[in-house]
């Protein structure tokens, strides 16, 4: 039925099957949209946020998807600026994943601000002393860059490409993509960093507070570094999941191996920096504020000392060792476990830097407040996942996302 739109030389499932799964995932999407409308029309009383948790599951999801979407800027940087030509075979998918992550982040923010019609205030009435202003600026601009990087893919659809103007536009955009990629890398560096900076400058909350360079606390650099390390891990993970669902190889092994190796070294150096940062914080910063390390961890279900072990050892040291060793990367099981742990590590880090920062008592009369999101918060957090799956389904079906697919199919 839609075979004229499907890229030439590749096989796709039947149209009926495709529509069936779109409806299934679309139902989840509609559930999220319903919850989103409740939040917009009835207000933020639909959430379980309170005085202790002004930042909650939405902001955690926001920071997590921004970190995981970092694969787009870092892969683009490697491909267009550092000339890693093999990565041209995965860059389209990295851009698509980044586009989904960043549009999801903006959607979550649009719900979180409560009054989306006033979203433009941050641009026009900007508070130039706030790191969040820098985040808003760079996030929006980088989303524009990702859109520009995604447009040529849409224009390369079999039918759209037949229109000479669109064919030429796509060709021209490819021609200057390095400029957009460099701009994207610049913007990403600052917004990833400023998200970390927001926590690092909280001198009234010693759990998050860090020293640093000039106006930037160390968390600024650690956030950028972790996004560059964990973003490519997420790209590899989603590529693997897509291959399993479609039951076909989409990207050649040497491309995955190269990206995994680079991600491994980024993750290893990040983990070393994170260990040094944590040690300095625990040994110098924390005592200087009148606390001990264990004051920041509790026996409650959410914020035990296990979370530090999970973040640094299980999701940092273990995947780093796997990814930087050739034998580790060669084993499919170990590779996928490592990229999963790497991506999980970014999520745990953002959880700690958003929610645990809010939960740690800073006054002697305070206790550990617990938090569980309302169903509206859960539904609106799952909404971008459903949206992402639908966009991947449509893009995979109709756009030439994987340049090696046809060649692999012919060989296989």
């Amino acid at each position: 039925m839609d075979s004229a739109l499907i890229p030439e030389g590749v096989k796709r499932c039947s149209f009926g099957k495709f529509i069936f799964w779109i409806i299934v995932v679309g139902a989840v999407l509609l559930w999220g949209v319903f919850a989103m409308l409740l939040c917009w029309f009835k207000g933020l009383n639909q959430t379980n946020m309170n005085d202790a948790y002004g930042f909650a599951v939405w902001i955690w999801a926001d920071l997590a998807v921004i970190a995981l979407g970092g694969g787009a800027f870092f892969t683009g940087l490697l491909r267009y600026i550092f000339g890693k030509d093999e990565l041209k075979n995965i860059i389209n998918y990295a851009v698509l994943i980044g586009f989904i992550c960043y549009s999801s982040a903006l959607l979550i923010l649009a719900i979180d601000i409560g009054q989306p019609l006033r979203g433009w205030f941050i641009f026009w009435h900007a508070n130039v002393h706030s790191m969040l202003t820098e985040v808003a600026f760079c996030l929006s601009c980088y989303f524009a860059v990702l859109t520009i990087e995604y447009i040529p893919l849409i224009l390369e659809n079999r039918q759209v490409d037949k229109v000479p103007f669109f064919h030429n536009l796509s060709h021209n955009m490819h021609g200057i993509m390095a400029i957009f990629a460099a701009t994207g890398a610049f913007l990403s560096f600052f917004h990833q960093g400023s998200l970390g900076g927001v926590a690092g400058v909280l001198f009234g909350r010693p759990f998050a507070y860090r020293e640093g360079v000039f106006i930037w606390p160390w968390t600024f650099f650690l956030f950028t570094w972790s996004a560059a390390a964990c973003g490519p891990c997420f790209t590899i993970l989603i590529t693997w999941i897509t291959e399993k669902i479609t039951r076909k190889k989409l990207v050649k092994k040497n491309v995955i191996m190269l990206l995994a190796k680079i991600a491994g070294w980024m993750l290893a150096t990040y983990t070393i920096a994170k260990i040094i940062d944590t040690w300095y914080w625990a040994a110098v910063t924390v005592p200087s504020k009148g606390f001990t390390l264990m004051d920041f961890y509790s026996n409650n279900p959410l914020y035990g000392i296990w979370i530090l072990v999970l973040e640094i050892v299980i999701c940092g040291v273990v995947p780093s060792i796997i990814l930087i060793t050739k034998t580790g990367r060669e084993s499919s099981f170990l590779l996928i476990s490592a990229v999963f742990l790497g991506a999980l590590g970014a999520c745990v880090n953002r959880w700690v830097m958003v929610l645990q920062v809010m939960a740690v008592p800073v006054m002697t009369f305070e206790s550990w407040p617990m938090y569980f999101p309302s169903w509206q918060e859960i539904a609106t957090t799952i909404l971008p996942v459903a949206y992402g799956i639908i966009l991947i389904m449509i893009s995979y079906r109709y756009l030439p996302i994987f340049p090696q697919e046809r060649q692999i199919e012919q060989i296989g």
């Binding site: 641009f123 900007a126 520009i148 103007f165 030429n168 021209n172 957009f180």
Partner: protein, 53 residues
């Protein structure tokens, strides 16, 4: 925010923040404008009849 807005102040923070924003937007805008105009010119010249990249 632009320099003629009432809340604008000529200080380093405003110049760095807003200058950075307008700089990035200018690159993105100019890049896209170049691509669109060149595509229109190429199309008028009869290029892009057909083929892959």
């Amino acid at each position: 925010m632009l320099p003629f807005s009432f809340e604008w102040i000529w200080d380093l923070s405003h110049m760095v923040f807003m200058g950075g924003l307008w700089y990035a937007l200018t690159i993105i805008g100019l890049g896209m404008t170049y691509c669109i105009i060149k595509a229109a010119v190429d199309t008028c010249k009869g290029k892009g009849g057909h083929c892959g990249h």
